[in-house]
């Protein structure tokens, strides 16, 4: 048989990618469910037993009550704060999922290979949706590059993530309109799509999957539904820190503390999309309008650094964190994460680690 790049990528590589995706998806979902446990229905969002019963009827009643006070709720909600961003984000993500399953071309290939297909949406509509995604991706890219709020915590990977998301749409659009060499373009399209599928599980693009854990499955006061699960700790804190001498830090103890909630924290640090939308929910950011007050940035500048260094930090590094995690955060736990990351949990762990090394904020100087 003649060696053919198109056939190779369309056939075995695509099958391999999908199998790899499925296996990893099962792994990620399993990892999440192993790292969490089921709460009883009587446990409140704070993890304490509720004195009041909260059954299905109460659920309905509370929804009705919320509807009755819809205006107040709307005015107090994060939606009223940035309706444009939220609508854009929701539509953007929805189209990405729709495009994977309901594009005519995808379904034809699916039917040819495995003999089944999903319903397709008209090609003209898909064309418009693709243009929408490309335009919004460009907008996100520009925002990343030029908005002070977005630029502050930015690293190269953040641009790459947007480009990786837009690439299948750009190539798909080009392929549909038969621009350039169709064969080359369609191969690019398939490769970029496969890369995105893989990236969906290994990079921060995984927030598309983590979203359903974070906002739906976990119980939290800001979550979409009254979830039923809570994070486990990997290892309970069993020993107290030894007093440290002079400028030393006890790296072993820092590691020990980092390992406490490793699965949870690593997952949360990995899936943070760095969208900076949590900024608007931080009253300190709203008052100061300074990017260093963005909750996710505070978590990355403290706990993120500790995990990246695997606990091998100098005392000076810890002292530099004091300003971020004490002066710029009061741990009011009101930060609202669109993906459902528990930012205060990260900051409080960073604080505990600093405290264990005798680095903390004093209020009398």
């Amino acid at each position: 048989m003649k060696w053919d790049l198109y056939e190779l990528i369309r056939g075995p590589v695509m099958t391999g990618t999908i199998i790899l995706f499925a296996v990893c998806l099962v792994y990620r979902v399993g990892q999440f469910f192993l790292a969490t446990f089921r709460l009883s229905s009587k446990t409140s969002v704070y993890g304490i037993r509720q004195t009041l019963r909260f059954g299905f009827r109460d659920h309905i009643r509370s929804v009705l009550q919320k509807l009755r006070k819809a205006r107040t709720h709307y005015r107090n909600s994060v939606f009223s704060m940035m309706p444009f961003t939220i609508l854009l984000t929701v539509v953007y993500h929805a189209i990405i999922v729709i495009a994977i399953f309901f594009t005519v071309g995808h379904n034809v290939l699916l039917d040819l290979s495995w003999g089944f297909s999903f319903p397709s949406i008209p090609e003209k509509t898909m064309d418009v949706l693709a243009i929408f995604v490309i335009v919004v991706s460009f907008y996100y890219l520009m925002r990343r590059a030029f908005s002070a709020k977005m630029r502050f915590p930015v690293i190269f990977r953040d641009y790459l993530a947007i480009l990786a998301t837009a690439a299948p749409f750009v190539t798909g659009f080009m392929a549909y309109h038969q621009w350039f060499n169709y064969r080359t373009v369609i191969i690019c399209h398939m490769i970029s799509g496969q890369l995105m599928l893989i990236a969906l599980l290994y990079t921060k693009l995984g927030h598309m999957i983590f979203y359903f854990f974070g906002r739906v499955s976990l119980r939290g006061e800001l979550n979409l539904l009254r979830g039923s699960r809570a994070w486990k700790t990997d290892r309970k804190l069993e020993k107290l820190p030894e007093p440290v001498q002079g400028n030393d830090v006890d790296v072993r103890y820092i590691r020990y503390m980092l390992d406490q909630k490793k699965t949870q924290m690593k997952m949360m640090l990995r899936y943070c999309a760095r969208c900076s939308n949590c900024a608007e929910s931080c009253f300190l950011y709203v008052n100061n309008r300074d990017a260093s007050y963005i909750p996710s940035h505070k978590a990355f500048a403290s706990l993120g650094k500790l995990y990246r260094a695997k606990g091998k930090v100098q005392r000076q590094d810890l002292e530099n964190m004091v300003d971020t995690i004490w002066n710029k955060c009061v741990l009011c736990e009101r930060c609202y994460c669109f993906i459902g990351l528990n930012i205060p949990e990260m900051i409080s762990l960073a604080r505990s680690i600093c405290r264990s090394q005798g680095v903390y904020k004093t209020y009398d100087n």
Binding site: Y46, K236, L240, Y360, T362, Y363, D364
Partner: protein
């Protein structure tokens, strides 16, 4: 915020007398800010206690971010098991949550919770509110007679006032004279012309705060 003051060391010594392994738990919240029970105060108190007790006992310290939040108190579950008794440097609320979370182990307060107050200077705090649950300062010119008046009068002043000074002590100003003066500046004296009914202090039970938007039942 909540203001507290460290208990006398002799009292603490008496409390922990029968125990050999003591864990002193600080709080990173209000008591940290009022310099009564933060991590620094935990270290200081531990050193003082070790000297005071005289015999060799194990006194360790740990500071949680907030003792009034279950999830922070839960963190030290395994550590607590290694000790005979706990000292809590948090306010009464924090100490009680600690005692509730670890019912098998005695919890002793290391601070006296004094007041809800304001900061006059570093280390100097003034009581402003007694959390009576029925705020009337709207009618008294922003001065709380329950906190400020020695008798907690709702309709004052009483006969014990002399040149604006309370009979209790010559350093205590009469709250009601101040109320009168402030309201007269604002031309709102009609606010205190009407007799206010006494508050129903009797039958006070533990209060549960449920915000209207969050009522479940």
């Amino acid at each position: 915020m909540v203001k507290a003051k460290k208990k006398p060391i002799s009292e603490l010594k008496r409390l922990i007398e029968p125990y050999n392994k003591v864990l002193n738990i600080g709080c990173g919240g209000c008591v940290s800010v009022c310099l009564a029970g933060g991590q620094k105060e935990v270290n200081v108190l531990n050193a003082e206690l070790a000297l005071e007790v005289g015999r060799s006992i194990k006194i360790e310290g740990y500071t949680v971010e907030r003792q009034c939040r279950p999830r922070f108190v839960d963190e030290i579950e395994e550590i607590v098991k290694q000790f005979d008794c706990l000292l809590s440097m948090a306010c009464g609320a924090g100490a009680q949550l600690l005692a509730e979370t670890y019912p098998n182990i005695p919890v002793f307060p290391a601070v006296n919770t004094i007041a809800i107050g304001i900061d006059r200077d570093i280390g100097i705090y003034e009581e402003k509110c007694r959390a009576c649950g029925d705020c009337i300062i709207g009618y008294t010119g922003g001065i709380c007679p329950i906190t400020r008046c020695a008798k907690g009068l709702f309709n004052g002043p009483c006969g014990g006032v002399h040149n604006g000074i309370c009979e209790v002590s010559h350093t205590v100003a009469c709250a009601w004279v101040q109320v009168y003066e402030r309201l007269s500046v604002q031309n709102r004296l009609d606010c205190i012309h009407r007799i206010r009914e006494p508050n129903g202090w009797q039958n006070q039970v533990q209060r549960l705060v449920v915000q209207d938007d969050y009522v479940h039942n």
